[in-house]
C-alpha cells in the first residue's frame, strides 16, 4: 500500500515516478519522430496519465478518508472538499475532451506546423514543475514548511516559464523574442508563423493552447495564494488547501499529457 509509506520513502517515490514519466516522454518523442505510430503514443499517454493521477494526484484518497464519522471534523470536511474538487475536474475534462474531438474532426491525421523540439522542451518544463509540486506537498505533509515554500516557489516559476513559453514564443506574440529562440531550436528563419485565422490548424492550435494556458494561469494564482498563506503558517495544521492547489496543478499537467502529442507528435505535416 502506497499511502502507508513513511515520509522519506514518499519523497523517493516522487523521484522514481518522475523518472518513469521523463523516460516515457522521451520515448514518446522518439517514437513519434522515428515512425508514425499513433497507438503507441495513445498507450504511452494513458500510462503517463495514470501515473500522475495515482501518485501525484492521489486519486485513491477519495476512498481513503471518506469514512470519518464526525461531520464537524476537519478530516470530514476535507474529504467532502476533495470529492467536490474531483467532480470539478471531471466536469472540466469535458471541455478538453471537446477540444480534442474538434482537433480530431478538423485536422484528422495531420498536425499544425510547430517546432517539435520546442514542444518537448515546454512539456519537460511542465513535467518538472509537477515533480516539485509533489515534493512540496509531501514536505508540507511532513511538517517541513520551509521545504514546502521552496518547492512551491520553484513550481511557480517553472509554471510561469511554461506559460510565457507558450504565449510569447509559440504564439509568436512578440516576434523579437520568439524568432531568436525559435532559431535556437532549429527553425529556419523567415518561416511563416501560425495565426488564429490561418484555417483549422491555427484555430485548433490557438484554442487548445489558449484554454490550457488559461488553466495554467489560474493554477499559478492558486499557487501564489497557497505560498503566501503557507508562509504565514496557515497550513501547518489544516493542509487541505495545499493538496487542492497541488491536485489542480497536476490536472493541468495531465491535460497537457494528452494535448502535447495531439498537437506536436501525431500525424503528418500539411
Amino acid at each position: 500500500m502506497i499511502h502507508t509509506l513513511d515520509n522519506k520513502s514518499l519523497l523517493n517515490q516522487g523521484i522514481i515516478i518522475f523518472a518513469y514519466l521523463a523516460v516515457l516522454t522521451m520515448l514518446e518523442y522518439f517514437v513519434a519522430v522515428a515512425f508514425d505510430a499513433v497507438p503507441i503514443l495513445v498507450v504511452v499517454a494513458a500510462i503517463k496519465a495514470a501515473l500522475v493521477a495515482y501518485y501525484f494526484m492521489h486519486i485513491y484518497k477519495l476512498n481513503l478518508e471518506s469514512h470519518v464519522e464526525d461531520e464537524h471534523s476537519y478530516a470530514y470536511k476535507a474529504a467532502t472538499n476533495r470529492l467536490g474538487l474531483w467532480l470539478f475536474l471531471v466536469s472540466d475534462s469535458f471541455v478538453f475532451g471537446g477540444l480534442m474531438v474538434a482537433r480530431i474532426n478538423l485536422l484528422g491525421m495531420t498536425r499544425p506546423h510547430l517546432n517539435q523540439l520546442l514542444g518537448l522542451f515546454v512539456t519537460a518544463v511542465l513535467l518538472i514543475s509537477s515533480f516539485f509540486m509533489n515534493r512540496g506537498e509531501t514536505m508540507m505533509h511532513n511538517g517541513d514548511r520551509e521545504g514546502f515554500l521552496k518547492n512551491t516557489m520553484i513550481t511557480f516559476f517553472l509554471g510561469l516559464a511554461f506559460l510565457l513559453g507558450v504565449v510569447l514564443i509559440e504564439w509568436h506574440t512578440v516576434p523579437a523574442i520568439a524568432e531568436p529562440i525559435l532559431h535556437l531550436f532549429g527553425e529556419a528563419p523567415g518561416t511563416e508563423p501560425l495565426t488564429p485565422s490561418a484555417g483549422p490548424a491555427g484555430a485548433v492550435f490557438f484554442m487548445m493552447t489558449g484554454m490550457h494556458a488559461f488553466h495554467v494561469l489560474t493554477g499559478l494564482i492558486l499557487l501564489a495564494i497557497v505560498w503566501r498563506n503557507g508562509r504565514k503558517g496557515l497550513y501547518d495544521e489544516k493542509q487541505y488547501p495545499v493538496e487542492a492547489a497541488a491536485v489542480y496543478w497536476h490536472f493541468v499537467d495531465l491535460v497537457w499529457i494528452f494535448f502535447y502529442p495531439a498537437l506536436y507528435l501525431i500525424g503528418s505535416l500539411t
Binding site: E69, D70, L99, V101, P196, A203, F206, M207, R228, N229
Partner: protein, 697 residues
C-alpha cells in the same frame, strides 16, 4: 419613507431610471451617429440596465442585488471602454459601431460586467478573505422577512426560493415573448411585425426571429433555474442535512445566473439574433452583436448549472442522515442525482461550442467555416452533446416529483422503487448516446444514423418503466386530488403524449419528413410541460406550506389547473396537426392557401388562456404569502422527514437529527416507519462519543 410600499417605490424608480437611461442612450447615439434614433439599440440598452438597477434600488436600497447590478453596469462600461481605447491606440480599427461599442468591446465589457456583478453582490467575499488568509464562519444568520432574498445568503432554503422566483420571472418574460409572436402567427400575412416595423435595429420579421429564439432560451434557462430551485430547497431537507455540501458555492451558482439574465435582455436590444436558440453557424457567425450577448449569457448561466449540480452530487454522497442507504433514498433524490450527473459534465460542451463560434467571430478562427477547411457539422455534434441530454436535465427532476408525490396522494407504496431509481440513472446514461438524432438531415455521415435511431428508441424503455410504476401505484389506491395531485395526474397524461410522439421523430424515414415542422414543436412542448412545468407547479403547491407556513388557495389552484390543461392539450394537438400537414417551424408567415389560419387562431387563443391561468397562479402565489390559510402541520399526511417538523422550516433545518429506520414509501402499511427522530439523551451521548473518537486530529 417608512410608509411607502417598497415595490411601488421600486416601480416608480424603474420608470424613472429607464427614462434617464433612455435619454443617456439617445444622447450617446446622437453624438456617435449624428441622428436621433428613438427606437435604436443604444438607448434601449442603457434603459434596460438602469431600469433594472433603479427598480432594486427602490425596493432594497444600495446593497445586495442593487450593488451587484450597479457594479455590472460600471464593469461593463469600463471593460468596453478599455477595449475601445486599445482599438483607438492600435488605430486602423473601427472604434464605435452601429451599437455604440464595437463587437469585441461589447464582448469584453459583458464579461467584465458579469465578474463585477459577482464582486459587487458579494458572492466572492468569503473566498477573497480565504485568499488573504482570513477565516470566515460557516453560517451567517439571515434576518427574518423578505429582505434576505435580495442578498447573498448561504442558506439552501433561501437560495432555493431565489432560484424559483427567478425562474418564474424568466417564465413570464419568455411567455410574454411567445404571446407576441403567437399573435403575429394568428393570421397569415404580416400584421404588426411587418417589414417597415423598426425596433432595436431590427425589422418586424427579424424581431420575430429574435423573440422566437429568446423564447426558447429564456424558457430553457428558467427551467434550469426552476430545477435548481426545487432541488436546492428539497434535497437537503429530504436527506436530513443542515445545508448543501458547499453553501458558498451554492450562493455563487445562483448569483451567476442573475447577470446572465441581464445579458439575455441585452441580446434582445443589441440587434437580436435570428438563429433560434440553437445558434448554428454559419448564420450565427453573421448575426448582429446580440448573438454574442446570447452566447455569453448561455455560457454564464451554464456555470450556474455546472456548479449547482456539483454541489448536489457532493451533498447526496456526503450529507445523508444515518441509515439512509442507497435503496432508502427518497426517489426525488435519485432523480436529482441523475440530472446532476448530466448537468455537471455535458454542460461544458454547449459552453465550448458557443465559445468556438464566439472566437470565430472575434478572431476569425475558422472552426465552422467550410470555405477555410472548417466543419459546420462539428458544431452541431458539440452542441447537441449537451442540448439533447439537457432535456433529461429538465424532465428527470419533474418525473422525480411525480414519483415522490403519487404515493402520498394514493396512500399506497410506490410500485417498484428500485426500478424507478435505476430508470432515472438509465435515462441519464442512455441520454448521452442519442444526440445525433437531431442531425438526421444535417448531412452527417449516413452510417451514423441507424445506431442513433436505436439508441433513441432505447430511451423509451426506462421511461416506460416509470409509467408502469405510476399506473401500478395508482391502481387500487385511495386517491385524493388536491391541487398538487391534479398537477401530478396532468403531468403523467401530458408526458405520455410527449413520450408517444417521440419515437416517430426517432425513426429516420419519418424524421426526414417531420424535421423542422410544427410536429416537433408540439412534441417538445408536450414533453417539457409534462416533464417539467406540470410537476414544477405540483411541487410549488406541495412544498409551499413548508416554505411559508401557509398553503395556496385550493379553489384558485384548481381553476389554474382546469384552465391550463385543456388549453395546453388543444395547443399541442393543433401544433402537431398542422405540423404533419406541412407547417414549418421558426417562420414568421405562412401561405394562406395552406388553410392553417383557423387552427393558428385557435392556437393563439389557447396560448393566451395558458397565460391567464399562469397569471392566476402568480396572484395566488403572492397573495397566499400573507393571506393564505395557515398550514403548519403535516397537511398532506406525508411520511417524508420534512413534514414531521412544523412549517415553516427552521433556519438550520432539523433541531433534532433523525435516522432512517424503514422504507420511504410504505404508505398504508400498518406499523411501518420511515424516519425516527433521535431522542435527546441518545443524541447527546452519540455526538459525545464520536467527538471523543475523532478529536485527536
Amino acid at each position: 419613507m417608512r410608509t411607502t410600499n417598497p415595490v411601488m417605490k421600486g416601480l416608480l424608480l424603474l420608470v424613472l431610471g429607464g427614462a434617464i437611461g433612455y435619454a443617456i442612450g439617445l444622447g450617446i447615439d446622437l453624438l456617435v451617429s449624428g441622428t436621433l434614433n428613438f427606437s435604436g439599440s443604444v438607448s434601449a440598452a442603457f434603459a434596460v440596465l438602469l431600469a433594472f438597477a433603479s427598480f432594486f434600488f427602490g425596493v432594497y436600497g444600495y446593497r445586495g442585488i442593487t450593488r451587484g447590478l450597479v457594479w455590472q453596469i460600471v464593469g461593463m462600461l469600463l471593460g468596453a471602454f478599455f477595449v475601445s481605447g486599445i482599438r483607438a491606440l492600435v488605430g486602423s480599427k473601427e472604434i464605435f459601431g452601429q451599437f455604440f461599442f464595437s463587437e469585441p468591446a461589447w464582448v469584453f465589457g459583458a464579461l467584465s460586467g458579469v465578474v463585477s456583478f459577482l464582486f459587487g453582490v458579494g458572492a466572492l467575499d468569503d473566498w477573497m478573505k480565504w485568499a488573504r488568509g482570513l477565516d470566515t464562519p460557516e453560517h451567517h444568520e439571515d434576518p427574518p422577512g423578505w429582505e434576505k432574498y435580495f442578498y447573498v445568503s448561504t442558506d439552501h432554503k433561501v437560495i432555493g426560493i431565489q432560484y424559483t422566483v427567478t425562474a418564474l420571472f424568466l417564465i413570464s418574460v419568455g411567455g410574454t415573448f411567445a404571446l407576441i409572436f403567437r399573435s403575429e402567427l394568428a393570421f397569415s400575412q404580416l400584421q404588426f411585425l411587418t417589414t417597415t416595423f423598426r425596433l432595436f435595429n431590427q425589422s418586424g420579421p427579424q424581431m420575430y426571429n429574435t423573440l422566437m429564439s429568446l423564447h426558447g432560451i429564456m424558457m430553457i434557462i428558467s427551467i434550469l433555474l426552476g430545477v435548481s430551485g426545487i432541488i436546492n430547497y428539497v434535497v437537503p431537507l429530504l436527506l436530513g442535512a443542515q445545508d448543501m455540501a458547499f453553501p458558498r458555492m451554492n450562493a455563487f451558482a445562483y448569483w451567476v445566473a442573475v447577470p446572465a439574465t441581464v445579458l439575455f435582455l441585452l441580446s434582445l436590444v443589441l440587434g437580436g439574433f435570428d438563429t433560434g436558440w440553437t445558434g448554428y453557424p454559419p448564420l450565427s457567425v453573421r448575426a448582429p452583436v446580440g448573438m454574442q450577448m446570447f452566447f455569453l449569457a448561455v455560457f454564464t448561466a451554464g456555470w450556474s448549472s455546472i456548479l449547482g449540480s456539483l454541489n448536489v452530487i457532493a451533498t447526496i454522497l456526503r450529507m445523508r442522515a444515518k441509515g439512509m442507504t442507497a435503496m432508502r433514498l427518497p426517489i426525488f433524490v435519485w432523480a436529482g442525482l441523475a440530472t446532476s450527473i448530466i448537468a455537471l459534465t455535458a454542460t461544458q460542451l454547449i459552453g465550448l461550442s458557443f465559445q468556438l463560434v464566439m472566437f470565430q467571430r472575434l478572431l476569425g478562427m475558422g472552426f465552422f467555416d467550410g470555405a477555410r477547411g472548417g466543419n459546420p457539422v462539428l458544431f452541431q455534434h458539440l452542441f447537441w452533446f449537451y442540448s439533447h441530454p439537457a432535456v433529461y436535465v429538465f424532465v428527470l427532476p419533474g418525473l422525480g416529483v411525480i414519483s415522490e408525490l403519487l404515493p402520498v396522494f394514493a396512500r399506497k407504496p410506490l410500485f417498484g422503487y428500485r426500478w424507478i431509481a435505476m430508470s432515472s440513472l438509465g435515462i441519464a446514461l442512455v441520454g448521452f448516446l442519442v444526440w445525433a438524432h437531431h442531425m438526421f438531415t444535417s448531412g452527417m455521415n449516413e452510417y451514423l444514423r441507424v445506431p442513433f435511431m436505436y439508441s433513441t428508441l432505447l430511451v423509451a424503455v426506462p421511461t416506460g418503466v416509470k409509467f408502469f410504476s405510476w399506473v401500478a401505484t395508482l391502481w387500487g389506491g385511495k386517491i385524493s386530488a388536491p391541487t398538487p395531485m391534479l398537477f401530478v395526474i396532468g403531468a403523467i397524461i401530458v408526458f405520455l403524449l410527449g413520450g408517444l410522439t417521440g419515437p416517430p421523430n426517432a425513426a429516420i424515414a419519418l424524421d426526414l419528413h417531420l424535421h423542422d415542422t410544427y410536429w416537433v414543436v408540439g412534441h417538445f412542448h408536450d414533453t417539457i410541460f409534462g416533464g417539467f412545468v406540470f410537476p414544477f407547479f405540483a411541487a410549488i403547491y406541495y412544498w409551499y406550506p413548508k416554505a411559508t407556513g401557509r398553503r395556496m388557495n385550493e379553489f384558485w389552484g384548481k381553476v389554474h389547473f382546469w384552465l391550463m390543461t385543456p388549453s395546453f392539450l388543444v395547443l399541442t394537438f393543433g401544433m402537431m396537426l398542422i405540423g404533419l400537414r406541412g407547417m414549418r417551424r421558426r417562420i414568421v408567415d405562412y401561405d394562406p392557401a395552406l388553410g392553417f389560419d383557423g387552427t393558428h387562431l385557435i392556437l393563439t387563443i389557447c396560448a393566451f388562456l395558458i397565460a391567464a391561468s399562469v397569471l392566476i397562479f402568480f396572484i395566488n402565489l403572492f397573495y397566499s404569502i400573507k393571506h393564505g390559510e395557515k398550514a403548519e402541520g403535516n397537511i398532506w399526511n406525508s411520511r417524508s422527514p420534512e413534514w414531521q417538523v412544523p412549517s415553516p422550516m427552521a433556519a438550520h433545518n432539523y433541531a433534532i437529527p433523525f435516522k432512517v429506520v424503514g422504507e420511504p414509501y410504505d404508505y398504508g402499511l400498518p406499523g411501518s416507519k420511515y424516519v425516527e427522530f433521535i431522542s435527546e439523551p441518545d443524541y447527546v451521548t452519540e455526538t459525545e462519543t464520536t467527538h471523543a473518537k475523532t478529536e485527536p486530529h
